[in-house]
Amino acid sequence: MRVRPSQVRHILLDDSFINALLATDAPQHDAACQLYRTLVDNYQMGSDRLYGLSTVLGDLPTEFRRNALAPLIRLNVARQHRVAAARMSTNFTPAAALSLVMMRRERVKVVATAAHTYDALDIEVLSVADAVPMTVAEPVPVVGADADVVGGHVVGSDVVAAAAVSSGSESTPVPRSTDGSSPTEP
């Protein structure tokens, strides 16, 4: 089936997604591979166009870049993009800020990621971050002042940090009840 150019999705594969693809021991590796396979199928049909930042692709092993990431179009990051990224809000990591700058400048509307970095933004996100359940193996003995205990799980700043380390990503904001009572378990 022929795809109309206006229907082609332009998708940036961010650093967390590419790292998840590369690292076979990463928790999101399988989910990333599965999503990447769909993207590659779409790429072959011409309905998706895949992009990667030169800053990310340049750090990868050549073999991986040339084969596994062969469909990716390299978006060259220049000094002006870094400057624009540096001017952005501190809510984003430098890598995420750079990805967002390149997305806007190159008119890329979709991002594939293995993190929750872009959840707060009004952009289309293909995420494999949720593939890894955010569970805590052991109860954390010391709970911070801003933490709540919900259904045996501890939800708070310490656990958020623990989850971020375990999955290599930032945490999903915990849904809060609108009537001001304690948060319910998702």
Binding site: R4, S6, V40, Y43, Q44, Q80, I123
Partner: protein, 353 residues
């Protein structure tokens, strides 16, 4: 269910109206990422260019000669690259070199055509046209029915203007695609350059006398008027040809086969056709090459077969590069699947989530 009668002065308890819960507004990419400061500069530059080009068109005429056209395209593209990274400028220099070489070869081929000495085709195109039109010469028939040397009809103006769009439409398309997407520009130019190369080869191998020459020089057709610019000038318009064109004039009068006027008139709409959604607009756009070929035949500039061959070359160019691009996509996708072991659907589905 008990009923309560309300009287004046009774207090009625009303449930408080809960405020409407609206989902939180998420910031857009536009609001998070700072604007490109050069964007406004480029827009202003384009506005100035359009005004200057229009003023030139009104005052001195439509820029026709290749060098002036090349200069105007170059200025447009430079404006489009203002504030872009250095790497984009490096690509621009490389692209300009390729573009210049392409047109230089095209112009040079006219000289090669003269030196190669292949036999001039005079009767063959006329015979083919007669075969296609049941023994009639379309050039002659059109001029006999529609051409009046004393009157310039509306269709003379339409035909003449259509003829002159050849000098701006492809160029505008190239410039716009060049500025907006380098990738699309490469797709465009692959097809365009292929068309030019094959056409040049045909100009050398198959020199063909156009109908006006077949009429005036070889007398195999009744007298044909060559009134191409009449309608255009009647509109108060004119063509602008700078003096350097005379120094570089390698014009080949027997380069009729294939008709690049017809080919370009199909090429540009064909490239942009997938981007056009309304079917009625597609139909209108596809009428343009038909109007162009009819105009060329009416003016005695080309045989019908010249235009048909031009269209065929456009079709072949699109088919070839479309196939090549699909093949490239397939190969890259296969490499990715093989490298990550994603080739087999069953394998992928068996991967635990």
């Amino acid at each position: 269910m008990s009923e309560t009668t309300l009287e004046r002065g009774d207090l009625v308890e009303i449930d408080p109206i809960e405020p409407l819960q609206t989902p939180p507004i998420r910031p857009t990419l536009r609001s998070v990422v700072p604007d490109d400061p050069w964007y406004t500069v480029r827009l202003a530059g384009f506005a100035v260019f359009v005004i200057a080009y229009s003023a030139w068109f009104v005052k001195k005429g439509l820029i026709i000669d290749r060098i002036s056209v090349g200069i105007s395209v170059f200025i447009f593209i430079v404006i489009g690259h203002l504030g872009r990274p250095l790497r984009r400028w490096a690509w621009l220099v490389f692209d300009c070199l390729c573009y210049s070489v392409m047109w230089f070869c095209y112009e040079e081929s006219r000289g090669w055509a003269d030196r190669a000495g292949f036999e001039l085709q005079v009767f063959a195109p006329r015979n083919i046209d007669r075969f296609l039109f049941f023994g009639n010469d379309p050039n002659v028939v059109l001029q006999r029915h529609f051409y009046n040397p004393k009157v310039i009809h509306w269709y003379d103006k339409v035909a003449s203007t259509t003829y002159f769009t050849h000098f701006i439409f492809p160029v505008i398309a190239i410039a716009v695609v060049w500025v907006t997407s380098h990738r699309e520009w490469a797709r465009f130019m692959k097809r365009f350059a292929s068309l030019l190369i094959v056409s040049c080869a045909m100009f050398v191998v198959l020199p063909t006398a156009p109908p006006w020459m077949a009429s005036s020089k070889y007398h195999i057709l009744p007298k044909l008027a060559r009134h191409t610019g009449r309608g255009f000038t009647s509109l108060g318009l004119k063509g602008f040809v700078n003096s350097w064109q005379s120094a570089l004039d390698w014009g080949n009068a027997v380069a009729a086969m294939p008709s690049l006027h017809s080919a370009f008139a199909l090429f540009v709409p064909a490239f942009f056709l997938p981007r056009i959604k309304p079917k009625w607009l597609k139909a209108i756009v596809l009428c343009f090459p038909i109007v162009m070929l009819t105009s060329l035949v009416y003016f005695g500039e080309h045989w019908v077969i010249d235009g048909l061959v031009g269209w065929t070359l456009v079709g072949l160019s699109f088919l070839f590069w479309g196939w090549q691009e699909r093949r490239s996509l397939r190969k890259q996708a296969d490499r990715a699947r093989a490298a990550l072991g994603l080739g087999d659907l069953a394998f992928v589905q068996s991967v635990p989530a």
